[in-house]
């Protein structure tokens, strides 16, 4: 009798365990597929657009620096070798992807006031039809677009974590400068921004390789 009861209990336990395992298996498969689907989406258009845009800005920044040097007159090479304080750091910080993305976003936001300052300064120094102003405006506008892309990318990858604003680290703009200082300042800003874009592009490529490689592996796995 007892044996029979024990046997019955064991059978019930086994049935419950089997049900539980089945449920866990289904959940695991489902969760894996969800992550894969999310990563597949990020490997697609938004990430590629972000990477392309960063390359475009990088290319346009290189052109912009050339144009800047040409438009500043003599000793333009000298301007760009002078170090200037209070310029945002072009290096991407953070170890995790989310941290790096936030760092990119923060740096882009940090550079915008400097771009505006340089644009204002060059507006006084250049004629209104100067290609430098056009290119400056383009780079500034694309930086805003890139920041929007990074924000979107972050939200898509980490939808439950808000993008941290650069609070407590207000952008410091230089005090009023003379023309020489303006020229030096502008060139340093552009050069630093170019470095930032170089870093951004690299990080995005890494991110893309991670996302799209995993996607491919998942594809093979399933």
């Amino acid at each position: 009798m007892n044996g029979h009861v024990k046997s019955m209990n064991f059978q019930q336990f086994m049935e419950q365990a089997t049900t539980l395992l089945s449920l866990l298996l289904v959940m695991a498969v489902y969760s894996t597929r969800t992550v894969a689907a999310s990563r597949n989406q990020q490997c697609g258009n938004p990430l590629q657009q972000t990477l392309k845009l960063s390359r475009l800005i990088q290319k346009e920044t290189v052109d912009l620096i050339k144009t800047y040097k040409v438009s500043q007159g003599e000793m333009s090479e000298l301007f760009c070798k002078v170090s200037v304080n209070n310029i945002p750091d072009p290096n991407i910080s953070g170890m995790e992807t989310s941290e790096k993305i936030v760092s990119i976003y923060t740096h882009l936001q940090d550079f915008l006031p400097h771009f505006n300052r340089v644009y204002d300064q060059q507006t006084d120094l250049q004629s209104s039809t100067s290609p430098l102003l056009t290119e400056l405006n383009n780079v500034r506008a694309r930086s805003i677009n890139l920041a929007a892309h990074i924000n979107n990318l972050y939200q898509s990858l980490f939808p439950n974590v808000p993008v941290p604003e650069p609070a407590g680290r207000p952008t410091t703009l230089p005090p009023p400068q003379n023309v020489f200082q303006q020229k030096v300042y502008g060139c340093v800003v552009l050069k630093t921004y170019k470095e930032l874009l170089l870093n951004v592009s690299r990080e995005l490529r890494i991110l893309k390789s991670k996302m799209c490689t995993r996607r491919i592996q998942k594809k093979h796995f399933f």
Binding site: K52, R55, A141
Partner: protein, 888 residues
């Protein structure tokens, strides 16, 4: 229904509180809703509310729509002060809806306060715009921020309810730009710079007073909408070591970081129409150069390039400017196109063979020269060492004259030709001219016809396994051209340039493994037109009376411009134009049934199927008489005249007695007169039996022995039995003269008087003197002398006849004389033979004496007559009788 009712009550409640304040001073009626915008095709319900008066109730109200009273069936009475109406909105035009009071008295007393109207604006709900498309064009190295879109309008709209369209272009995560328009296209400006690598969402919203609706949203990368400019600086390079390849280079202003482009390349041989497209997979990558392969050497190629955004770009650019380049030369890849022209030789058994040649189809370069070798086909193995003749290629023409030889009809010959360009020499082309008598059979049932600007041929092949190809040759005005066709060809078109209105002799030669067979030939025109030269029409000879032979010149071959189908001859005499159509091979025609002595204009029209040309007029006049007709008439008239003459003569000959009797009635012979017997005791009837043939001649034959007989004959010659002649002592004569010229009045049978006198020129009145005396009768010796009577006979016998018949009469006289020869001796036996002889001499001229002589002798005779008339002696009385005739 319940909800609708509740809404109405709600509206009424609203009216009760809001409207009275506004319309109180204006009207006792108010309509809810005010100024509605209605959709055509729906039903509309309005409520008329009575305000601030108790003079009217809802029963006193009625509705008017478009000047027509709305039927009561469409009314719904809500209460004593509110009346609903439901109308169908069918017309598009806006109109007024009135609520009015039926009581006229009240209506006018209240000065219009018992009427209220609302203006119904009608329209349609906007339709959903379709087929939205947008583009951003390239500007230098940038893309324009001017974003241009267009779409297709859907649905209807009215003037009262117009539909507007607002174009939205949203840069995702950034900004939305919009532009409103009334049409189907709009532009929006996407900020200061084109948002590369951003997602654009574009849509159109159609909206009006009745609602709004959005088109489908286009959500694509901004590059999707970019329409780039075509590549610039397209250049093509050739490399001598690659005669079948060309290298294309180009540039593009847009950096690939902005828009990554993909390219499309097409090329074609210069002068051809169809482009060859490079497969897209070969140009899908980001390239700035491309190598075209598999081209023909030494050919000019045109190349164009276009581009679009590589990432699902929507718009291809236009094609770039054409870059042209010739591929390098290569060795001729095909044999030269060898042919021959055969003409008559100098002798009858000889041919003149002229070898001609065109460049190889795959010349792969500029042919510099041709090498030709002519040999006997049967001895070609032996004559391998024959030398080649080198002929430079013609620089002006595509056909090069190679060589001309004289070939006997019994011999055959083989020509071998190679073509050479700057790179090398072609393979050998061979052509064999066989013996004339041993030419292979021709193709059959050759047909040639123009179609779609080409001359088409069709034939049936000869039955032969050796048939290798065909040569289609066309010759015109000494110019020969040809093309070769494969052995399985049954129909083809002449590919060479042909001229319109030129006659081509098209021949198809079967080639039997290099041996030329007999040709089949046809003539054909690419297009036919009216002849360029007029035929000249004229008359072959002088025109006849009813016909004329027209001849016209044949139009020269070069001027015909088509096959002459027929000639149409026109001729007219002024009133009606006749036309006659004759076959094309006719060059003369005889116009018949013409009118004589009429001027005719004639012309001729030469016709082809492409038109006709008319000759100049030629005029001629037909003859009055046909040739020979005049001669026929003259001969006929002459023959008739001659016949009449002959007949008359015959009549005269055979009927001379009748004629004589009619025209020369018997003249009583005075000598035989029996006047003496006219007395009743001498019956006349016995004397009528006498022969009257002797009446014209009276020979007084005094035969004493036969005096009675004489008297009998005289009686027969007396036609003077007619009463009028029975006059006594009367004489008549011409013009009153008489041989006897009696002064006494004579009586004749001519009652016509002067008329008769006019005929005296042709008639002679004869007087017959009959001396009925006893002496006359008394010639009979036995008869007692009787009283002598003088009687005269009259006759209208023409004197001319008498003269013409003088001989006859003489004969008659002589015959008569012969009848009485026995009597002459009797004269001789008379008492005075000399007197008788004298009497005979006087008797003969009695009938035949000329008038003149008679006239000369008349007077003395008359005198004598006057003297001797009373004389009683018989002889003396007889003699004056004779003398009495003579003067006539």
């Amino acid at each position: 229904m319940g909800s609708g009712r509740a809404l109405q009550l709600l509206a009424l409640a609203f009216l009760g509180s809001a409207l009275p304040a506004r319309v109180e001073a204006d009207s006792y009626l108010a309509i809810v809703p005010q100024s509605p915008v209605l959709e055509v095709g729906t039903n509309f319900t309005a409520t008329c509310v009575i305000i601030n008066t108790s003079e009217v109730t809802a029963d006193d109200l009625y509705w008017i729509l478009f000047e027509t009273t709305v039927p009561v069936e469409q009314y719904t009475k809500i209460n004593e002060s509110a009346l609903n109406v439901t109308v169908a909105i069918t017309r598009e035009e806006s109109e007024w809806l009135f609520c009015q009071c039926k009581k006229d008295v009240l209506f006018f007393q209240n000065n219009g306060k018992l009427v209220h109207g609302i203006y119904l604006q009608k329209g349609y709900v906007p339709g959903k715009p379709e087929n939205l498309s947008c583009e951003a064009v390239q500007q230098q190295q940038y893309i324009s921020t001017n974003f241009s879109c267009k779409w297709q309008l859907v649905g209807r709209q009215t003037a009262a309810v117009p539909t507007s369209y607002t174009l939205y272009a949203a840069v995702l995560f950034m900004q939305i730009y919009n532009e409103t328009t009334q049409t189907n296209r709009a532009n929006v400006k996407l900020g200061d710079t084109f948002p590369h690598h951003m997602t654009l969402e574009v849509w159109v919203e159609a909206h009006n007073k009745l609602g709004k609706i959005e088109s489908e949203h286009l959500k694509e990368d901004s590059g999707w909408f970019v329409k780039p400019d075509p590549p610039s600086d397209v250049k093509v390079f050739s490399e001598k070591s690659f005669p079948t390849s060309l290298l294309i280079n180009w540039t593009h202003l847009i950096p690939k970081e902005r828009v990554k482009l993909t390219y499309q390349i097409r090329y074609r041989q210069n002068g051809t129409q169809n482009w060859t497209y490079v497969p897209p997979r070969d140009t899908a990558t980001d390239i700035k150069s491309f190598r075209l392969q598999g081209l023909q050497p030494y050919q000019v190629y045109e190349t164009q390039v276009s581009c679009k955004n590589a990432r699902q770009g929507l718009y291809w650019s236009t094609w770039s400017t054409t870059a042209t380049k010739r591929t390098p030369e290569a060795r001729p890849a095909s044999i030269p196109d060898l042919w021959r022209i055969i003409a008559e030789g100098d002798s009858a058994s000889e041919r003149r063979v002229h070898f001609i040649c065109k460049d190889p189809v795959l010349a792969n370069g500029r042919i510099i020269k041709f090498d030709i070798k002519i040999q006997d086909p049967k001895e070609k193995v032996k004559n391998r060492s024959l030398e080649w003749d080198s002929i430079p290629r013609s620089s002006q023409r595509t056909i090069t004259d190679l060589k001309q030889i004289h070939l006997a009809d019994q011999k055959s010959v083989q020509a071998i030709v190679t073509a050479t360009n700057s790179v090398g020499k072609s393979a050998e082309a061979s052509l064999v001219i066989s013996e004339k008598a041993r030419e292979r059979p021709p193709v059959e049932e050759l047909k040639v016809w123009p179609h779609s600007g080409q001359l088409w041929l069709e034939w049936k092949p000869p039955i032969s396994t050796e048939l290798s190809e065909y040569v289609v040759e066309w010759v015109s005005e000494g110019q020969t051209d040809w093309q070769k066709e494969k052995r399985n060809t049954r129909s083809t078109a002449i590919k060479g340039p042909l001229e319109k209105f030129v006659c081509y002799k098209v021949s198809v030669y079967p080639i039997y493994k290099g041996w030329v067979g007999k040709p089949a030939s046809k003539e054909a025109y690419l297009e036919q037109g009216a002849p360029s030269e007029r035929p000249v029409v004229r008359l072959q000879d002088k025109p006849g009376r009813n016909q004329a032979l027209l001849v016209w010149t044949e139009i020269p071959q070069g001027s015909r411009r088509g096959f002459i189908t027929n000639y149409t001859i026109f001729y007219t005499s002024g009133s009606e134009t006749h036309e006659i159509t004759v076959p094309a091979n006719t060059t003369s025609y005889t116009l018949k049934s013409l009118s004589g002595n009429t001027k005719y204009d004639t012309w001729i029209k030469a016709s082809t199927i492409g038109g006709s040309v008319t000759s100049f007029n030629h005029s001629f006049t037909t003859l009055i008489y046909a040739p020979g007709e005049m001669e026929f008439i003259v001969v006929g008239v002459s023959m008739c005249f001659l016949f009449i003459v002959v007949m008359t003569m015959l009549l005269c000959v055979y009927k001379k007695d009748v004629i004589k009797e009619n025209f020369w009635p018997p003249i009583p012979d005075p000598g035989e007169s029996t006047i003496g017997n006219w007395s009743p005791e001498y019956p006349l009837k016995a004397e009528t039996q006498k022969d009257s043939g002797l009446s014209g001649i009276s020979v007084l034959d005094v035969d004493v022995g036969d005096g009675k007989c004489v008297f009998e004959e005289d009686k027969a010659g007396l036609p003077l039995k007619k009463d009028k002649y029975l006059s006594e002592e009367h004489s008549s004569g011409i013009g009153g003269s008489s041989c006897m010229s009696s002064p006494r009045q004579s009586v004749s049978d001519s009652d016509e008087g002067g008329d008769m006198a006019d005929t005296t020129a042709s008639t002679v009145q004869y007087s017959s003197v009959v001396a009925a005396s006893s002496g006359y009768k008394g010639q009979t010796p036995n008869a007692p002398p009787q009283q002598a009577f003088f009687s005269r006979s009259e006759s209208t016998q023409p004197l001319l006849d008498s003269e013409e018949n003088q001989d006859m009469l003489l004969q008659e006289g002589s015959r008569q004389s012969k009848r009485f020869p026995p009597r002459q001796p009797r004269f001789t036996d008379s008492a005075d033979s000399a007197g008788i002889a004298e009497q005979q001499e006087l008797l003969e001229p009695l009938d035949f004496c000329p008038l003149g002589e008679d006239s000369e002798h008349a007077t003395p005779v008359d005198g004598q007559a006057a003297d001797w008339l009373p004389a009683p002696a018989p002889l003396s009385s007889y003699m004056p009788q004779l003398g009495g005739y003579r003067p006539q």
